[in-house]
């Protein structure tokens, strides 16, 4: 399928459903990793932003974007990795936060990190909804998560840190 007539908006939609490799319940659009697609008369310029500077998902996501576009006969695409504006949990949509919770990860509590880190004590357990939980570690299974334990159902759960 060769297609050079897709506009940048259509290209954006084609790749927006790529799941995040670490939190597959969210797409790269849900997470705000996919920022923009522009056509510059030669290339589709796809801008993505990493959640963390060392986000190991970025090469995977870049390859996925290219793979999907290749399926549509698009080979002229440039992937720009942008750090400004810096990714923030504020970009998670309401739907994304709900999906996270259903997946078993407590969504970030407040916007960005204006507050002092570590003071996020009122984290609700994604399983039983109890608001009594204890921080086990600020660093969880991936850079973007912290580890909490529910005081009610005693289940250990991931919390998506404010960033």
């Amino acid at each position: 399928m060769v297609n050079s007539k897709l506009n940048s908006h259509q290209v954006f939609n084609l790749i927006s459903e790529i799941p995040d490799p670490e939190i597959p319940v969210l797409t790269i659009r849900d997470l705000g990793i996919l920022r923009d697609v522009k056509w510059d008369n030669n290339n589709y310029n796809v801008t993505i932003t990493p959640t963390y500077t060392a986000c190991p998902a970025i090469p995977f996501i870049s390859n996925e974007i290219k793979r999907i576009l290749n399926e549509y006969g698009i080979y002229n695409c440039e992937i720009n990795i942008s750090y400004e504006p810096a990714w923030t949990t504020d970009w998670l949509t309401k739907e994304a936060k709900l999906k996270l919770k259903q997946y078993g990860i407590a969504p970030p509590l407040h916007s960005s990190c204006a507050k002092k880190i570590g003071a996020e004590s009122q984290i609700h357990c994604p399983r039983c909804n109890s608001n009594k939980s204890t921080l086990l570690s600020n660093f969880g299974s991936t850079a973007c998560k912290a580890l909490y334990k529910c005081n009610s159902c005693e289940e250990v759960f991931d919390y998506f840190k404010c960033h």
Binding site: C55, P56, F139, G140
Partner: protein, 251 residues
Amino acid sequence: MEKNNLYKYIIRLADNALILGQRLSENCSKGPFLEEDLAQTNIALDYIGRAQVLFNYAAKLNNNNQTEDDLAYRRDEIDYLNFLLVEQANQDFAYIIARQFYYSAFDCLLYNELTKSKDETLASIAKKSIKESNYHLTHTIDWVIRLGNGTDESKHRLQNAIDALWTYTGEMFEQDEIDLNLSKNNIAPNALDFKANWLNTISTTLKNATLKLPENSFMMFGGRNGKHTENLGHILSEMQYLQRAYPNATW
């Protein structure tokens, strides 16, 4: 000249991140318990990611076909410009925490200032990095307080490490022509401007941890100009092994 200064400054930032990241990653699977093991590894990964971005920028500035991998893996010891502090050996858990404590307290202040840099690329890297730096510092301060107020053994060991590494802290505030030139042009801060702030974080935390602020004033310098302790050679021999044994190997 201007560009040279910036290049060297970026290399210093990148080398601090790379070498500390490498040091911390040596500890992977050796943490005192699983959560702390993950924390150390996460912090290591943050630094290595930061180094990668900075090397990438430095390579662009230099414009001589160097890649980020050339900078990370194919330089000689004398070309590394990191602080002596970050190359110091892990020794025991107290040393890891003390090193991180001195460095993170500095790193947070520095990167906070760098977010205001006139150099847009540097400012954008700093805006990304500062969020991570804040987590590192909070985590490390928790440990200083926990070990200081822990058992006699943990207190004694941490005080030992705090005292032993103190001599490497002066270098973080050394300002040479490169720094002065960049601070004059609002590209980087003068580190002396936030030294009091740093000392305040250190002394307040040590007080809360019932530990003593070291008093000796003899400071070691040299890392920023490529003169290292023997530790760096050991790090590089491991870190560069693959590229030296199989030149230009890729994934």
